[in-house]
Every structure is written in structure tokens, then in C-alpha cells.
Amino acid sequence: MTAGRGEPLSTRGGVAMRLSGLVRKEFLQIIRDPSSIAIAFVMPVALLLLFGYGVSLDSEHVPVAVVVEQASSDTADFIASIDGSLYFSPIPMRSLPQATEALLAGRVDAIVHLRANFADELRRPDGAPIQVIANGVNANTARIVEGYIEGAWFTWLAHRAQEQGRELRVPVRVEQRVWFNSELRSRNYLVPGLVVVIMTLIGALLTAMVMAREWERGTMEALMVTPVGVSELLLGKLIPYFLLGAGGMLLSVAMAVWLFEVPLRGSFWLLFLTASLFLFVALGMGLLISSVAKNQFIAGQVAIIATFLPAFLLSGFIFDIGSMPAVVQTITHIVAGRYFVAISNTLFLAGDVWSVILPNALALALMAAIFLGLTWRTTRKRLE
């Protein structure tokens, strides 16, 4: 830095010089222990690759046991509608006990059972029962499978009515219009959500140890006897890790858009801006953990507890916040991921909807201010 050359050390030049010195020191430390670089660049790539390809709620080729006690052209028609569906891998079985055994062993998720008198019963006024047994342990999958079977049943009814020269008449038919994600591709919301989870980890992991490390090794005392102020100290920590984190963030967004083909319908700059805000919250949380704990072991433990699982379960990324009990909904307000999940889902899939972005961005700004302010206070107290 050229400040201070020739003239008496001005405050402004002094700040810039001290700050650049601190940033340089931090960068040197980052380079010596490559784990920070791994956190910022290797972790997001590895996790996004794994999850972007691995995680999906779209059940396809669900194994279903099909038990037909007496084959006829009617049963063949119905089975054809199941065979024809992309959603099932039907497995023919001879008897109900055999199918039950497969269900218990987890080899099939459901059983479709047509009784021996299926063809006769079809012609009776009451109609024929089609027995469906689903394994309810995974309630969500069970519900999806039920929906698929209903779909196949409906296709079969329509087809049958058509063959008999009439129209299938059902009073009310639901015509669904799914906005923002018409194919209901779960990856389109899982990937932006995973970006939020991963950024939470990057932010907290980068900074959770750095203040505690200085305290533990006694270098904090060494820093304190220099003219460096608390604000400069914090900025010196924040700037390098923000740059690293922003790099990881850009990498994640690039992967979401180009590799996983999630549409980015809103403005990139708005996403960048709000993501930076979120990164400040995440870094601020790490710094706060670090400066309160003053001990790397405890800081590490708190980081493990406070980051991943809350961001995963309480951010609205997987579980709908509106369906949680009121107390738990209140608790989700202290999870920064909640605000950024709302923003990123909207920016990726819906566009620049200010009524969603503005309040959530304000909440993020407030949280960043609180975390950094608290860090500043706890650090100052010890200086006195």
C-alpha cells in the first residue's frame, strides 16, 4: 500500500494499510492449510455433483407385484395399462402370499391384486374390486404410488369406455396447471435448495475456526498489541473468506444452470446480490461461533450442530414451513437458509418477484448485521 508515504500516518491510509496487511496474512494462512480452498471449491463441486444427480423425489419404475388369479382378456387390459406406464416395473407373481413376502422383504413397494372372479364381477352393477396394498412405511412414496395406480386405473377405464363406444363420464375432472415447473421436475427445486445448504456450510466452515484459532494459539494477544482495531480485524477476516465463498457460490450457480439445466428466470445480478448477502450471514454466523467459543474444539462442535441439519430441515428446502406447528415456524425464523431458499427458488423458477425478494433480503441483511454486530461486541469485550 502506498498510503502514509512521506506524510504522517493518516488514519485513512493507516486503516487501508493495516487492513491489507491483515488480508494478506489471512490469505497466506489459507494457502498454507489448503482445507479452506477445499471448502470453497472442492466441496461445492463434489456435493452438487453427488446430490444433483443423486437426489430425486421423482419415483419411476416403482416395483409393483401384480397378482392375477385368473387371467382373462379383461385382466390383460388392466395389466396393460400398468405395464404401459413409465412409473412402474410390474413383477407378475403367482399368489398373494408370494407377493406379500416380496412386500415384506422390500422387493416391491405395492401389490395389485385381481381376484379370480374379476371378469364376472366387472359385469355386475357393483363393479369389481381391485385390491391395492401399499407399503406405508415411506408414506410419501406410498402416496405417490397410489396416485400412479389411480392414474393407470383411470386410463384403463377411459380406454374401456372408448372400446365400448361411449365416453367415460366422471362428474368433475381436475385440470392441473403447475406454474414455474410444469413437468414437476423435483431437481428444479432440489438443486437451488442444495446450493443454499452448501453455501451455509461454506460460510460457516470457512470462519468457524478462524477467530477461535487466534485465541487458542495466543496470536490474538499479539494482534491486540498492534494498532489494529476490532473492526479492521473483523474485516480482515471477512474479506478473504467472502472472496473464497463468492467463488464457491458462482461455481455452484454455474453448475445449477449449465450442468443441471435449472432455468434461471430472474436476474443474475439480483441472485448474486442476495447470495452475497446470504454469504455475509453465513460467514457472520461462523465468526460469531468462533469468537464466542474461543476454542476450536467447541467452535467445531457448535458448527456441526448449528449449520447443516437446521439448513437442511428447517429452511423450507424439503419440508413445507407452513405445515409445521406454530412454535417450530417461529424457530425457523432464525435459520438464515429459510430466507435464501425463498429467494433462490423464486429467482430460479419464477423470476424477479419483488414481493418475495424484498422482505427476505431485508431479513438477511438484518441477520448479517446482528451476527457481525455480536461478533464485534464479544471481540471488543475481551480487548478491554
Binding site: 466441496m43 381391485i130 408414506a139 362428474p171 467459543a293 447443516f308
Partner: protein
């Protein structure tokens, strides 16, 4: 030998529990998380905000709208008077869906023609959208049955009789809470083990440990047993909360559950110690803990089924101990299966645990810097 191990264990317990903050971190937050997550983790929607757009204003539309209002899962927050009002409501996430009755709705139904019901749903979270549509369909199906019976519409020649075994009301909490038991147990073991060797390495006390008469096996046991014991005790509390507080049925035998728990703890402690002994600094240990925990949870089948993953990723899940433990938890809790059914889930955890522990012991001596 046991005396030396006991002394080392004593030291480990002191290092973990003597500090008030450390004691606090180890006990209170995991228990709070158990309660909060237990309530948060469900795919059941009970508060679907929707708006009604009734262009029909006829009797049939009123009847169907009344069933939406009467449903405990739906909450009407607005009514729409023109098409232009729909987009702002959905965009701002004030409503998840809009139910729209066309102008012909009642007239069509009365003369015996099928009537469409348009449902516009916010697909930003496609899973929530799918579940909400499912609920809508259930309501409409029930309405159709009533309407058909009352007006003698032709009945379909076949009807579905759907039953769900093990969880007749399809409560998704029954699925998630056993999963949370596994996730929190993993969290606790990692809290105890993942940084323990790294801390000693960073502070230089590990070298001192290595020059004592303790053999690597003894150091390994001394480091592993505290994690095992703390994990075992806290898991017991967690299982009690799951059964007594959340009232999840526990149909199977406790013995099978605890054999599964012991093997899971063995593997989790093993992996935690391995991470810890690979790391030279605690920062690296923390990174390792996350690089293990995050994939271990997300790929375990906790929230998204393993069957939906591509084959290559499914192969990776085979080294995830949580994957096996979740199957054991769910099968013992909800299905009450016996030990032999779970054998295929038991032995992989034993193998993972043994390999990880062996490798950690080897690293004690061979990872020097």
C-alpha cells in the same frame, strides 16, 4: 491393559465433560434438535393456503367449495374476482393454489356432462405441489362419489380398494422420526469423535500419548469407547422420546434395535476417528466431518428414496452406515421384523466399523507431519 484403557477413557471423558460449555453442547442442542426436527420433518401438508375463483356461483360449485373449506388441510385466504388477480397471489406465495370453477360448472354437471375444475398450483417446490394436488384429487373424488350416487351417474366397472400396511393413515411422521433418531445419533458420535485426535495432534499432546506405554490398540479403544458410550446413552434418550413423546409405534424387539444401534455406533465412531486421525488441524477435522456427514445424511434415504437414485450413486450409498441403520430403525419400529430379516443390513455396518477403526489405528502411527 484394561487399566491403561480405563485411564485413557477417564482422560477423554474429562476432556469432553469438564468444560461446562462442552458439556452443554454435547447434551442440550441435540435434544432440542430432536424435538424441533421431529415436528418439522413431515410431508403432510396441514395448512394449504388457497384462493377461490368462482365464475359459476352455482349450487355445485358451492357444494364443492364447501368441502374445501371444511377440510382441515386447506385454508382459504383470498377470493379472486378476475383472472388478473391470480398471478400476483401465486407469485408472492400468498397462496399455494387457486381453485377455479368455470362459468359452465354447475350447468354442465346438472345436465350430466363432465365439468372441469381448474387448479393452478405454485410449482416452485414441486414436491409440495404434488402433495397438494393429491389432496385436491382426494376431495374431488369424494365429491364425485357423492354426486354420482345422488344423481345416478353410471358407476365405473371396477374400483380401487387401497390399503397401506404398517402405516394405515400414511402419516409421514412415522417415517421421518425413526430417521431422525439415526441422524441425531450420527451427529452426536461425530461431535465426540471427529475432532478428538485432531485436537491432540494440533496441540501436540498426541505425540506424548504415542510415547507412553499405551499400544495403538489401547489408544484406539480409549478414544472409541467414550464416543460409543455417549452415543449409546443419548440414543436411548432419543428412542424414548420417539416412542413416548411422538408416540411412534415400536413393534419390534428392543434387542434387535440395540444390536443395530451398537453396530451403527461402531461404524460411526470408526469413521469419526478415521476423519479425526487423517486431519492434522481441527479445521481439517471439521471439514472432514462435514464431508462425511452431509452426504451420509442426504444419500441415506432419509428424505429421498435410494431407489430414485441413479445406479452409480446407489453404489456409493453402500458405504454409508446410516443407510443401513435407517432401514433397521424403520423396520423395527413400524414393521416389527425379526433379526434374520435385518442381517443384510447388520453385517455391512460391522465391516465398515472394523475397517474404519483398523485404519484409524494405523493412521495413529503413520500419519506424521
Amino acid at each position: 491393559m484394561w487399566q491403561r484403557i480405563a485411564a485413557l477413557m477417564r482422560k477423554e471423558f474429562l476432556a469432553l465433560l469438564k468444560d461446562r460449555r462442552s458439556r452443554f453442547v454435547l447434551i442440550l442442542p441435540p435434544m432440542i434438535q430432536l424435538l424441533v426436527f421431529g415436528y418439522a420433518a413431515t410431508f403432510d401438508l396441514n395448512n394449504i393456503a388457497y384462493a377461490l375463483y368462482d365464475e359459476d356461483k352455482g349450487q355445485a360449485a358451492r357444494e364443492l367449495a364447501a368441502t374445501f373449506r371444511g377440510s382441515a388441510n386447506f385454508r382459504e385466504v383470498a377470493s379472486v374476482a378476475s383472472v388478473g388477480e391470480i398471478a400476483p397471489l401465486v407469485n408472492s406465495r400468498r397462496v399455494l393454489l387457486v381453485v377455479r370453477f368455470g362459468p359452465q360448472f354447475t350447468r354442465d354437471l346438472i345436465v350430466g356432462n363432465p365439468a372441469p375444475l381448474q387448479v393452478i398450483v405454485d410449482g416452485r417446490n414441486s414436491n409440495t405441489a404434488l402433495i397438494a394436488l393429491n389432496y385436491v384429487r382426494t376431495i374431488v373424488n369424494r365429491f364425485n362419489d357423492q354426486w354420482s350416487n345422488a344423481r345416478e351417474w353410471p358407476k365405473p366397472p371396477a374400483r380401487l380398494q387401497i390399503r397401506a400396511w404398517f402405516n394405515p393413515n400414511l402419516e409421514s411422521r412415522w417415517f421421518f422420526i425413526p430417521g431422525i433418531v439415526g441422524v441425531i445419533t450420527l451427529l452426536i458420535t461425530l461431535l465426540v469423535t471427529a475432532l478428538s485426535v485432531a485436537r491432540e495432534r494440533e496441540q501436540g499432546t498426541f505425540d506424548q500419548l504415542l510415547v507412553t506405554p499405551l499400544r495403538p490398540v489401547e489408544i484406539l479403544l480409549g478414544k472409541a469407547l467414550p464416543g460409543f458410550i455417549i452415543g449409546f446413552l443419548e440414543a436411548t434418550v432419543i428412542i424414548l422420546v420417539a416412542t413416548l413423546w411422538f408416540r411412534i409405534p415400536l413393534l419390534g424387539s428392543l434387542l434387535v434395535l440395540y444390536v443395530g444401534l451398537a453396530l451403527f455406533l461402531l461404524s460411526a465412531v470408526g469413521v469419526g476417528l478415521m476423519i479425526s486421525s487423517l486431519a492434522i488441524t481441527q479445521q481439517q477435522g471439521l471439514l472432514g466431518a462435514f464431508l462425511f456427514m452431509v452426504p451420509a445424511v442426504i444419500l441415506s434415504g432419509f428424505a429421498t428414496p435410494i431407489a430414485n437414485m441413479p445406479p452409480a450413486v446407489q453404489a456409493i450409498t453402500l458405504i454409508d452406515p446410516l443407510r443401513y441403520f435407517l432401514v433397521i430403525l424403520r423396520k423395527v419400529f413400524l414393521e416389527g421384523v425379526s433379526f434374520d430379516v435385518l442381517l443384510p443390513e447388520m453385517w455391512p455396518m460391522a465391516v465398515i466399523g472394523a475397517l474404519a477403526l483398523f485404519f484409524s489405528g494405523w493412521l495413529f502411527r503413520h500419519r506424521m507431519y
